[in-house]
């Protein structure tokens, strides 16, 4: 049909933000399942967990925590910058955030790499000789930080897309809900790490 009727564009920023919050809620519940498993096994194998946690590199963990906290700040600043109409600053702050995300992954790569060098990885023969609690700790460590790193990657891609959209003017001062949602997602990634860090690195 030539005279096909198209849907009227419908824009509702409150709805978009609400949708994002609900989605963030489901992400928290996803990790919530892991936190349950963590708490069950930690209470069952308290001593093993403490011994195993000693093996983690608290220094890299701390550096990554600082990196994520700062990146959360820069992404929040980019939202404010866009609201005041400063496109150049927005892009710079966003690029900084993306750079920090990348830095986090680099650190993670070296951290995991070191573990692999010591034959500490899921399924290795050394792992199977460990005490049961230690085995579960490392299993949880790799699973939780791995899933978190996956979220970092997703967040990074999201921020890169948003960066492009600001560059090409599809996200503007008056239509900035996408940036705000991207920022919200990035805060979620940060928030989860804030819980992972003490639970995995600081319990020894």
């Amino acid at each position: 049909m030539e005279n096909s009727i198209t849907h009227t564009e419908h824009r509702d920023d409150t709805a978009s933000k609400m949708g994002m919050w609900l989605f963030i809620f489901t992400e928290l519940l996803l990790f919530g399942g892991l936190f349950i498993v963590y708490s069950v096994y930690r209470s069952k194998y308290t001593a093993d967990f403490h011994v195993a946690a000693n093996q983690l590199n608290t220094f890299i963990g701390t550096v990554n925590t600082v990196i994520l906290l700062v990146s959360s700040m820069t992404v929040a600043m980019s939202v404010t910058a866009l609201r005041t109409g400063n496109k150049g600053l927005t892009l710079k702050l966003l690029a900084t955030t993306i750079f920090f995300a990348f830095l986090f992954l680099v650190n993670k790569y070296f951290e995991w790499g070191l573990k692999f060098e010591h034959h500490l990885y899921p399924g290795s023969e050394l792992m199977l000789t460990l005490k049961r609690g230690e085995l579960l700790f490392f299993g949880l460590y790799f699973f939780m930080t791995g899933l978190h790193a996956l979220h970092i990657i997703v967040g990074m891609i999201l921020l890169i897309v948003i960066y492009r959209k600001i560059q090409t003017g599809r996200i503007t001062k008056d239509d900035n809900v996408l940036l705000e949602n991207g920022g919200l997602y990035w805060h979620l990634v940060d928030l989860i790490w804030i819980f992972l860090f003490p639970l995995l690195y600081l319990i020894s």
């Binding site: 049909m1 096909s4 009727i5 198209t6 849907h7 009227t8 419908h10 509702d12 409150t14 709805a15 978009s16 609400m18 949708g19 609900l22 989605f23 809620f25 489901t26 992400e27 519940l29 996803l30 990790f31 919530g32 399942g33 892991l34 349950i36 498993v37 069950v40 096994y41 069952k44 194998y45 899921p122 399924g123 792992m127 199977l128 049961r132 609690g133 085995l135 579960l136 299993g139 790799f142 699973f143 899933l147």
Partner: protein, 533 residues
């Protein structure tokens, strides 16, 4: 003039593309709903045929047609298809999509593109589920529950099936999210929360369960995959893990999932009864609050699947109590339905017959649920055919019949045409009769000790299996007649008026079938949804 209603409707107008592409790229909630419906029908027939294959094998004791291993695969695939592909998306994705926006006076859902995206995730999950049957080292044989540690040990293709369930869960979450935001933000002016029709209300409660429960099973399924690939040992006692923990995590989702199936069904029934009684629904607020209560309490009863699995007495006592409590709001609804009919001018039409069958089945299913929810009796009937009969009474007898009621109720709205009443009534009678003949004997042989998921049995259970087999045949014929009737009528049926049943909710105020935009002008709501004179 009325033919032009069809010509002007969403069925003929869509996107810039013509034909099938116009459907596949459409973000129109009605088209997406219909696509879900056709997909679900196909999967239902596949799942149903697998169920028939099991009945055939069980017709006589001993091995007749398929081996024990094949039988295990068949009941697993039957379960995965029916649960994850048919009943969980069933009413919400089909009738929720087609009608909820219209019933609240909106032009579409809040996120139409996301809605189409959910559909494609669903199809992707479906492909994964089906492919798990053919790829790898044989079809999964764990049952749809994927209980560890067997699911982490067996050589069959569990990963694909588990991944499918994960992907489908994601689709379900996005649909739920979409509906919650739609209902919050897009109700027509004047439609306060308590002027909203009850089907959207039930979808709202359902959407919250989808959102709150599905992530838990998502992460649990990922843990199963990680365990199979990397030997992490979350659920393997040899590696320090705890298989009971898997059961907990699994049922934290999968019990609420039962309410994801049945709540929208109750919503459909609550729409149909006032229309065919021409009377205001009895206890509107009681129905609203019972939906919310079912969603809330239903989240906390998962332990009743695990009475015999090893839980403390306190935990079992607690879960049993909560199970009895969740029965109360369900019963409130039944009382409300009956009271709505009281002194109404009942109009005996096919949707109403399906609704009656629903209430009858749902009561049997619900009350036998209490037998299973009691600590002592559950020990006797746990893992028997009694359980099989119970949940088929809820899922098929309840949700399935509500689906059929919904399709007969909204058929003229969706297609703008009417089906053959006589054939519809015949199919209803056959489906109900076949269903009863199929599942009721399973209660009895279950009580006598027939275990579930066994492909062989003692001769004393043979009579029940024979009855069930013939019930399945009658049921199949009924479904076939119904499908023929509906498919023929969708193309060539008599043109239906915009309000053939005299309904009062918003979908009956617009053309049949609706235009792409649903409403020329968004209506302003001044009174409740069921104000019959």
């Amino acid at each position: 003039m009325e033919i032009s209603a069809i010509e002007n409707s969403y069925l003929k107008h869509g996107t810039k593309y013509k034909g099938i592409l116009g459907w596949l790229t459409s973000t129109d909630h009605k088209r997406i709903g219909l696509m879900y419906m056709y997909a679900i029908m196909i999967f239902f027939l596949v799942g149903g045929l697998l169920g028939g294959l099991m009945r055939l094998e069980l017709f006589r004791p001993g091995q007749d047609y398929i081996t024990a291993q094949t039988y295990n695969a068949v009941f697993t695939v039957h379960g995965v298809i029916m649960i994850f592909l048919v009943v969980i998306p069933g009413l919400a994705a089909v009738f929720g999509n087609i009608l909820m926006p219209i019933m609240i006076g909106a032009r579409d859902v809040a996120f139409p593109k996301l809605n189409l995206f959910s559909f494609y995730i669903y199809i992707f999950g479906a492909i994964l589920a089906i492919s798990s049957q053919f790829l790898g080292k044989g079809a999964p044989d764990t049952g749809w529950t994927f209980y560890a540690p067997y699911s982490t040990d067996t050589n069959t293709n569990v990963v694909a099936a588990v991944l499918a369930a994960f992907v489908l869960g994601f689709s379900s979450i996005l649909t739920g999210l979409n509906f919650i935001v739609t209902i919050h933000r897009m109700r027509a002016p004047g439609m306060t929360w308590f002027k909203m029709p009850l089907f959207p209300w039930s979808l709202y409660a359902t959407a919250w369960i989808q959102l709150l429960a599905t992530p838990i099973v998502g992460i649990t399924l990922l843990m199963i995959i990680a365990e199979r690939w990397f030997k992490i040992g979350f659920f393997d006692p040899n590696l320090g893990g705890d298989p009971i923990l898997f059961q907990h995590l699994f049922w934290i989702y999968s019990h609420p999932a039962v309410y994801i199936m049945i709540l929208p069904a109750m919503g459909v029934i609550t729409e149909i009864i006032p229309t065919f009684s021409q009377k205001r629904v009895f206890g509107y607020k009681a129905i609203v609050f019972s939906s919310v209560a079912i969603a809330a309490v239903g989240y906390l009863v998962w332990g009743h699947h695990m009475y015999t699995a090893g839980m403390s007495v306190t935990a079992r006592w607690f879960f049993s109590l909560l199970t009895f409590i969740v029965a109360v709001p369900s019963a409130i609804k039944v009382f409300n339905w009956i009271s709505t009919m009281y002194k109404g001018s009942i109009n005996l039409q096919p949707p109403f017959f399906f609704t009656m069958a629903f209430i009858f089945n749902f009561m049997i299913g619900g009350l036998t649920g209490l037998v299973l929810g009691s600590l002592a009796t559950d020990i006797h009937v746990h893992d028997t055919a009694f359980v099989v009969a119970h949940f088929h009474y809820i899922i098929f007898g309840g949700m399935g019949f509500a689906f059929l009621a919904a399709i007969h109720y909204w058929f003229p709205k969706i297609y703008g045409r009417m089906y053959n009443n006589k054939l519809a009534n015949t199919s209803c009678a056959l489906i109900f009769g076949g269903f009863t003949l199929l599942y009721f004997p399973q209660f009895i042989i279950g009580l006598q000790g027939m275990p579930r998921r066994y492909f062989d049995y003692l001769p004393k259970y043979e009579w029940g299996q024979v009855f069930s087999f013939f019930g399945a045949i009658v049921l199949g014929i009924g479904i076939l007649i119904m499908l023929i009737n509906l498919f023929k009528s969708a193309r060539k049926g008599k043109i239906a008026s915009s309000n053939p049943w005299g309904g009062k909710t918003l979908e009956w105020t617009i053309a049949s079938p609706p235009t792409v935009e649903n409403f020329e002008e968004i209506p302003i709501i001044t009174e409740g949804p069921y104000e019959y004179k």
